[in-house]
Amino acid sequence: MQRPAHSNPPPAHSPPLHHPVPQHVSTVPQLRSPPPPVPQSQPQNTYGYSQQQQQGGGPGGGGGQGGYIHPAFGGIMSDPTAQMGFQVGKSAIMAGQEYMEQNLNRYVNVSALKHYFNVSNSYVVNKLYIVLVPWWHRPWSRQQRLSNNGQDGYYLPPREDINSPDMYIPMMALVTYILLSTLLAGLRGAFHPELLGLTATTAFAVVLLEILGLKLGTYLLSISSESQLLDLVAYSGYKFVGIILTLFLSEIVNRTRLGTGGGGTGGWFGWCVFLYVFSANAFFLLRSLRYVLLPDTSPNTGSAAASYTVARSQRNRRTQFLFIYSYVVQFVFMWLLSRQSADPKIGKA
């Protein structure tokens, strides 16, 4: 609108340039959090805000926040309509978040999940060390702490207790396993895009089958397990750490030696690493699941009555089940997950 027409030949002297003069102060709101207000007023403010929110007034809630926002954003937005629009948008976002949280809390127990992700760096390093070298770890029991309001004890989060299972390592290990096995397939030239989804569904199916087998075993043997489902999912996710190690090491060795073909568990080095990792994982599971599946070894958590009704044959059967689960089942599943498709490069020549 303000440019000169381009069809005319350029004049000899430059025409007066019309720079567009900004009419609106349309600055992008800087993405920094507002400075925290005086601490005494903050809980009352948010409490009052949520009260107004539940009574259902978007502008009302925004107006309630008006006195709180003004000193922080006064310098940025001087336009009152933009400010009002910002407040309405913010209250709408808050309402949407609260709605989503309420609905999500019905399906997924979010607070229980948060307990599993409460890890620290030293915990992750120590836990990885325990998973891979479990022979020298001495106390295997999870620590409890009686809470103050009369409920029975709850377990310490993974940040404070090295024996507590977490979901961070298994989830990271699962994703790494999927990416690594797809990467290795790509290096061998056997990559197709469905491989990602295939590996993911295979891994999920393995975890699902394990949990089903464990639940079936606890039902058939009348083991009343007090541990949650996510504990078992976490324990069955620890074997991905070992599988990653197997795949990675055998791939490196098989690349630099140019001898035996095939990664995964082909070649004797891959088998050695796999057997070591498998035995480490089985030992780790044996020690950890002993406190889950054999509850008569726990002394004084109110199970004194239950320990008398457990016969000796049942205890033997439970121990057998634990052994079979830790060794045989894990062997089958770990071998399944370490498999890789055939190398198409070997078929040529």
Binding site: E194, L198, T201, T202, A205, L220, L221
Partner: protein
């Protein structure tokens, strides 16, 4: 479907549950002794603690629960296989 894709797993599980559901109760299971027809003059509860009793309970409950959903699932799979190859 891939080699071990989820579709194969679904097929296998549906076939297994079908196999559990079509066993004849009085001709086969009673012969083996896998029913729960205990003596009414027992006096107390049944023997619900042993592994075999739990298995029997599990089989019986799977049969009674999954009869009708299995009809629906089987019909769906038949349609899928016939029409969509």
């Amino acid at each position: 479907m891939g080699f071990f894709g989820l579709g194969g797993l679904v097929y296998v599980s549906v076939l297994l549950v079908n196999a559990i559901a079509i066993l004849s109760e009085d001709r086969f299971l009673a012969r083996i002794g896998w029913t729960n027809a205990s003596d009414p003059g027992f006096g107390g509860g049944q023997d619900n603690g042993s592994v075999k009793a739990k298995m029997v309970n599990l089989v019986a409950s799977v049969r009674t629960l999954m009869r009708i959903p299995l009809i629906i699932i089987n019909t769906l799979i038949i349609f899928y296989e016939l029409i969509l190859g």
